[in-house]
């Protein structure tokens, strides 16, 4: 039995629906109902056993249960219990409020297998309210053009939309066609996103002053050429570093991440105080060093099949 296997496996536990965690072609899959719905949307006829938060099952004497990770809709940590020992795999997680998914629940454990995507002390995600305010100010100053935001199609896009709504922005939001089904799926899971319009095939004039959301790959693509004088924004934790934003030709960096920042990663470790921490993808070296400085036992766990920075 594998967790988030990168190759087709006979039996797979899947933490959440992002492509580098949820691959297609597994035999049996256990995941939250939301994650299964996302996999079904992406891969067609994916079948699996739904595991609502808190539910579990037993296999080979190991009790397996799913707990909210706060990363995207349906994202879960997986708790493994055997002979009194508890191992938690966080998957990707964050501790901040997110209107589109259930909040992270700290789970007591002996061994914590944590992510470290933003495991460097330079990564502090600012309050999302500040970033949304920055976005709305840029839009107000851009009456003749539009704001084009690059955001990952699963999770980030819906979170940005939901936060815009929470900030009182009730105009239609224009989306790239590739995002429509995922947004519909979120809406069907009681995440209201307000009025969304697919931007494909619309006249330039119609999108003046609009906010348009597209996958990051579409930002410098021909697709973006039909937008009226766009300011290119990107919603990602990597935008914290100026050179990273510049490398991607981003004019309006929005530091919005669905991963734990340095403070969240380290505070979670202090809160849970596992007797051992295994650090997976991301900056295993830096978070490992921090554990050493705080007398926490830790080691790096290298995983295959993970590409740096395709989301965040």
């Amino acid at each position: 039995m594998w967790i988030d296997p990168s190759r087709p496996a006979e039996r797979a536990l899947v933490t959440h629906g992002h492509a580098d965690h949820a691959r297609s072609g597994h035999g049996a899959v256990w995941a939250t109902p939301e994650t299964l719905a996302i996999m079904a949307l992406r891969y067609g006829t994916e079948m699996g056993t739904p595991m609502p938060y808190g539910d579990g099952f037993e296999a080979n004497g190991v009790k397996i249960s799913f707990h909210p990770a706060g990363h995207v809709l349906g994202s879960a940590q997986i708790l493994l219990e055997h002979a009194g020992e508890r191992v938690v795999v966080t998957g990707d997680y964050k501790r901040r409020f997110d209107p589109t998914c259930a909040p992270f629940e700290p789970v007591d454990c002996d061994v914590l297998i944590t992510e470290a995507t933003f495991g460097l002390p330079v990564f502090t995600h600012p309050p999302i309210e500040d970033e949304i305010a920055k976005l709305l100010a840029a839009r107000a100053a851009q009456k003749e053009g539009c704001i084009l935001i690059g955001a990952y199609a699963l999770g980030k896009a819906q979170r940005v939309i939901a936060e815009l709504r929470r900030a009182g922005y009730d105009a239609p939001i224009y989306i790239h066609g590739a995002m429509q089904k995922m947004c519909d799926l979120y809406a069907a899971h009681d995440v209201p996103l307000g009025e969304l319009i697919v931007a494909t095939g619309l006249a330039k004039a119609e999108m003046k002053g609009a906010i348009v959301i597209a996958p990051p790959s579409a930002l410098n693509d021909r697709w973006a050429q039909r937008l009226p004088d766009p300011i290119t924004a990107m919603a990602s934790g990597w935008m914290r570093v100026r050179q990273r934003a510049r490398q991607r030709n981003v004019e309006l960096p929005l530091v919005i991440s669905d991963h734990a920042d340095w403070t969240e990663l380290t505070e979670t470790l202090l809160e849970l105080r596992p007797s051992e921490t295994w650090i997976t993808h991301g900056r295993t070296d830096a978070l490992g060093r921090w554990c050493e400085l705080h007398q926490l036992k830790a080691r790096a766990l290298d995983l295959v099949g993970r590409e740096e920075e395709d989301e965040g």
């Binding site: 002390p121 050179q243 991607r248």
Partner: protein, 522 residues
């Protein structure tokens, strides 16, 4: 500080020059004195805070952060000041951000020893963007892609005055430029230029694509491979300006000191050496000196510089710019006669029977300091910028060599996700490859994708951002010239190398040898 840090970030993220000018102009209009004056000085490179050096920032970091975590962070971010700004503890909600002038006053009134503490107290009052702007302001280098000329252009745009008028009064004023802003806002008379020497925009050339020109209408000169320079002198003071209008007097003090004429002349800064005009390494030395505010006597002695003059804009106070090239040339020859021949000479006119003859002369010229031929309309006035049909540059045909790709590095900007910078080599007699150059242009987007894939699939070793590749791909490299170079193990260096073709068909062992390249030295 918030408005200033927003401006700095705006400039960092904005690609368009016009938009940058607009951002600065908006800031200068909406910010009170003396903050905006200090900001203008920071952008124009005329602000210097003696108490803060880069070492102060490293000292601050070492005192507060674990050295290993700091090093890892610094390696990732790539900039010490930004790393410190990002790692610094978040500002408390009740902190009051300092103004730009408060920052300047505090730093100017402290000692070098106390400066790190003063800086740290200021850091505690700012958010991450403010901390970044503070550290950049304190250490000088803003690195926002703004030249002094562009800052002055923005001032001109902000207050509806001409940039040439700004230039004229600029050197008579000093930060925070209160008199400049008072004039800009119409509250006082234009400041007195006080007999100062100032920059006039250069006349520039279009490339001669494939036409021919009539040599009765155009004069031909060599195009020199040095640094374009303008010398302006009032007799009282002499200043040197580079292509963009930035003052470089401090970088070449021996030129300014030797200039004993009054007026404004245009020419090429070159190094006198065995080869008239200098070898490739000396061009690099010139480039390095260009960026300095001061140079040592040793640097002056190592590469003796001189200026080869080719135009005159002012003779004394007389403006010659509206006169035809012919008349200016005559005045220049008379003007140059009074100058020190060690530091100044005249760019010769090429005598050719006709255009074909000129093409022959151009093709035969392989001297290192010659980049090609300039064609200047004999009846044209001296006009700022690039005007169609008046001046042409006609570069030499490039040389080519087949080289083998050795290393690749990720590009910057749009290309940061591609391996787009390639180091290539040629063969030694004993069958080893030695690097002879590095290129990052000349290929199409489709070829770039193919090259990137090649690098990823053929990596044999990694050194930080650099990948060493299997020595199997032949690149045809075009370059303007090849020179002796002590800095390279191969002993040679190329000028302006670029990839002209991918020779996927050619086996690596049939690529050129170092000896082949050496034979092309001009």
């Amino acid at each position: 500080m918030q408005a200033f840090s927003a401006l700095i970030d705006g400039l960092i993220y904005t690609r368009s020059r016009d938009h940058k000018v607009r951002l600065i102009a908006d800031y200068l209009r909406s910010t009170p004195d003396p903050d905006r004056g200090w900001a203008l000085a920071a952008l124009a490179g005329t602000l210097s805070i003696a108490t803060v050096k880069a070492a102060a920032i490293r000292a601050m970091a070492e005192e507060r952060f674990d050295p290993m975590l700091f090093r890892m962070s610094r390696d990732y971010v790539g900039d010490t000041a930004e790393t410190v700004a990002l790692m610094w503890p978040e500002v408390s909600a009740d902190a009051v951000a300092p103004t730009v002038s408060e920052v300047i006053d505090l730093l100017n009134s402290t000692s070098r020893a106390r400066a790190p503490n003063v800086l740290a107290e200021l850091m505690d009052r700012l958010d991450a963007n403010g901390r970044y702007a503070l550290l950049k302001l304190a250490t000088g280098g803003m690195r926002v892609g703004i030249s002094a000329r562009l800052a002055k252009t923005a001032f001109g745009q902000a207050f509806g005055v001409s940039v040439d008028d700004v230039e004229e009064v600029w050197h008579a004023l000093s930060p925070p430029y209160a008199a400049l802003f008072a004039w800009g806002e119409g509250k006082s008379e234009r400041p007195d230029p006080a007999d100062s020497a100032f920059f006039r925009p250069f006349m520039l050339a279009h490339p001669l694509e494939d036409g021919i020109v009539d040599l009765d209408a155009y004069a031909a000169e060599w195009k020199w491979d040095g640094i374009r320079i303008q010398i302006a002198s009032t007799g009282g003071e002499t200043r040197l300006f580079s292509r963009g209008g930035d003052e470089v007097t401090g970088a070449f003090p021996e030129i300014a000191a030797a200039f004993n004429g009054i007026g404004v002349v245009d020419g090429e800064l070159l190094v006198r050496g065995d080869v008239q005009g200098g070898e490739a390494a000396s061009f690099n030395a010139l480039q390095q000196r260009l960026g300095r505010k001061n140079v040592t006597a040793a640097m002056q002695a190592e590469y003796p510089v001189f200026v080869r003059l080719y135009d005159i804009l002012f003779d004394g106070a007389e403006d010659l710019r509206s006169q035809p090239w012919n008349a200016r040339r005559e005045r220049l020859e008379r003007f140059a006669a009074q100058l020190d021949t060690v530091r100044f000479d005249l760019s010769a006119i090429i005598e050719a029977r006709d255009f074909d003859h000129l093409a022959e002369i151009r093709a035969a010229a392989r001297e290192a300091a010659i980049e090609g031929v300039m064609l200047k309309r004999r009846d044209a006035p001296y006009l700022a910028g690039r005007k169609v049909g008046l001046w042409y540059k006609w570069k030499r045909e490039p040389l080519v060599a087949d080289c083998v790709m050795m290393y690749a590095q990720r590009g910057s900007g749009k290309r940061s996700s591609y391996y787009s910078d390639y180091t290539f080599g040629c063969w030694t007699p004993d069958g080893a490859l030695l690097p002879v150059g590095k290129a990052y242009s000349g290929f199409s987007d489709a070829e770039l994708k193919w090259l990137d894939r090649f690098v990823r699939d053929n990596t044999v070793a990694r050194f930080g951002p650099v990948r060493e590749v299997e020595k199997s791909l032949v690149l045809e490299v075009a370059f303007d010239a090849v020179h002796e170079s002590k800095r390279h193990k191969s002993g040679i260096a190329m000028r302006f190398p670029r990839i002209s073709r991918l020779r996927r068909d050619k086996p690596a062992d049939e690529a050129d040898t170092i000896a082949n390249l050496r034979a092309m030295i001009g």
